[in-house]
């Protein structure tokens, strides 16, 4: 799951012991009890989330079956065909252009989405944190409510806005800006817009946390020393909010890379992203090993990004 709730950021990976820890005795019996209590969660997640990943890795080294599934023959084709494909005529290896264009779409749309959520998210976070103390929670609540409504429903809401016979086109035609509806659905634009819409709160919340911590007296000092608004923003605000921006960027970038629902609904059959390419291998593509190797690749990329995220946020905790 690419969700990371606000709570999870506040939790260090390894919480320091609290001074009032209930029992100080650390007999092996206590440790055994603690393991025993954790056992149901451990087993459920091991069997139904973490463990299957190793089976997936195994499958990526097998040969695709004739109809679906796999044949138990070792092969590294699934890994090489992520980037290369064998020419059917002269058997030479060539770049897999179809895959590369999908990777490029995933990467570029994720970056554009991250940039857009930053452009809208930073001012929004700033705005929320400068409300009077009693109102802040309400604004924050208003920001988070949509992010808790069903992702699919939010995607459908975007779809209904940008359809050829949707609200935006109706208004554009009515006002006379365009003569006939603009094709927005099933384009890269639609995917980028949809992802910006659904993942925006993931950018706002960490930036808000950083802005909240920013000592506003620094701004006073800054203006007392004749800084211009731009200088205050660029030299004081931006550096202090930077950890929040980095955290938010990773929180948005990661689910964008693995997005499946938004590109499926708004991008249609032609504008695939990484997640849809993976799904294709289990449907029409009938290449489970390739699906497994692609999926594993995505996982590794995301893990690297998240490790970076954890390092940034724990650094921030140390500094703060």
């Amino acid at each position: 799951m690419a969700y990371v709730t606000p709570e999870s950021e506040a939790l260090p990976l390894d919480a320091p012991a609290e001074p009032g820890a209930l029992e100080a005795e650390h007999s092996s019996r206590d440790v055994r009890q603690r393991w025993f209590l954790s056992l149901p969660s451990i087993l459920i997640i091991f069997f139904f989330a973490a463990g299957p990943l190793s089976v997936m890795l195994l499958y990526s080294f097998l040969t695709p079956g004739n109809y679906s599934g796999v044949k138990w023959e070792f092969s590294t084709d699934a890994w090489s065909s992520i980037l290369m494909q064998r020419d059917i005529f002269d058997d030479t290896l060539q770049w897999a252009d179809a895959h590369l264009s999908i990777f490029w779409r995933s990467l570029s749309l994720s970056m554009i989405t991250t940039a857009l959520t930053l452009i809208f998210g930073l001012p929004t976070a700033w705005f929320i944190s400068t409300r009077p103390p009693g109102r802040r929670e309400l604004w924050l609540f208003l920001m988070t409510v949509p992010s808790w409504t069903n992702l699919l429903v939010r995607t459908i809401a975007v779809q209904e806005m940008i359809r050829a016979e949707g609200v935006i086109n109706n208004v554009l035609v009515f006002v006379g800006i365009v003569d006939e509806p603009v094709q927005m659905m099933f384009t890269n634009f639609a995917i980028g817009l949809g992802m910006t819409y659904v993942y925006l709160p993931l950018m706002v919340l960490p930036i808000y946390a950083a802005v909240e911590k920013l000592d506003k007296r620094l701004l006073e000092a800054c203006y007392d020393l004749y800084a211009s608004r731009w200088q205050a923003f660029y030299r004081v605000i931006l550096p202090l909010v930077k950890p929040g921006i980095i955290a938010g960027s990773i929180l948005v970038f990661v689910p964008c890379l693995g997005a499946y629902v938004v590109p499926r609904v708004l991008g249609g059959g032609k504008n695939l992203m990484f997640g849809n390419l993976i799904e294709l291998q289990f449907g029409a593509g009938r290449n489970w090993p390739l699906g497994a190797s692609l999926s594993f690749t995505l996982m590794v990329i995301v893990m690297v990004a998240l490790i970076f995220y954890i390092r940034v946020t724990s650094q921030e905790r140390k500094d703060g």
Binding site: M1, S41, I44, I45, T149, N150, V302
Partner: protein, 268 residues
């Protein structure tokens, strides 16, 4: 922030305008989606008068009925099991010094949050396809298992957060008064944890109800939940019926999340 600075210092030109635009942009599509669920006509963009007919139609649609019941059943069982498991794990991993394996337990519990859903979905598809062929068994148990697994971290986080803010004075007092360990747990610890447990249950329930990707990959034929049913319908001509279903889903979810916020903000 010790003092409130004068307002002008905190103003950055244009930021308020962008923020207001953002809030309007966030709510407009949802408001329109809800509004057109009450449309008398077939259009999703041209208002033809108020009517509840799409709600009646959705309620009378047998596929919607069975998908809704299946979603509730799945979320009910998965969230409950996940909450019990998460409560136990939270008790085990909080209010203690470091013990061997604590980091590992914590990492494993949070694992479903770290991995893109599509990856977990594919891994489960592979494993369950194999189990389904081997056993010939295709009940809801696969969906329940998958949902329980990814609900655990969502149930765990608020319970853990609650436990960490609880001080142990009352528990110590009870123990001093010769309460047994079970009595202390049953009479003191559990009631004090309750807001966290309820919040965790709500969150897990909402997360399970909303899941599309893992459900889409794990479900057998005829096991559509509400979100996968809606996803399937999008390939056809879309009528305001989908808006009516969405509206119910949005308000049910918003209701649960409001309870979640209310319970977790009342904890201090």
């Amino acid at each position: 922030m010790a003092e409130r600075a004068p307002f002008s210092v905190q103003t950055i030109p244009g930021f308020a305008a962008i923020a207001i635009f953002t809030f309007v942009a966030i709510y407009t599509p949802l408001v329109i989606l809800v509004a057109f669920s009450f449309n008398a006509g077939d259009s999703l963009a041209i208002w033809e008068g108020f009517s509840l007919k799409w709600y009646y139609r959705a309620a009378a649609n047998e596929q919607v009925q069975s998908a809704a019941i299946r979603s509730l059943y799945l979320a009910g069982i998965s969230a409950s099991v996940a909450t019990v498991a998460a409560t136990m794990a939270a008790l085990a991993t909080t209010r203690t010094r470091h013990f061997p394996g604590k980091t590992m337990i914590y990492a494993l519990i949070n694992q479903p949050l770290m991995i893109p859903e599509i990856v977990t979905a594919v891994a489960l598809l592979i494993v369950f396809a194999w189990v389904k062929v081997a056993t010939g068994h295709t009940s809801m148990i696969y969906l329940i298992a998958a949902h329980t697994a990814f609900c655990i971290p969502f149930a765990y986080l608020p319970i853990r957060a609650r436990l960490e803010t609880m001080d142990d004075t009352l528990e110590k007092a009870a123990a001093d008064l010769y309460a047994g360990r079970w009595q202390v747990f049953r009479r003191i610890t559990l009631p004090m944890m309750m807001p966290g447990i309820i919040a965790g249950l709500m969150l897990a329930f909402v997360i399970s109800m909303d899941d599309v990707v893992i459900t889409e990959f794990v479900k057998s034929a005829g096991q559509d939940t509400l979100p996968t049913y809606m996803l399937g319908q999008l390939r056809r001509v879309v009528t305001p019926e989908i808006n009516a279903i969405s509206t119910v889903v949005v308000f049910a979810g918003a209701f649960l999340v409001t309870i979640f916020f209310w319970v977790s903000s009342n904890r201090r």
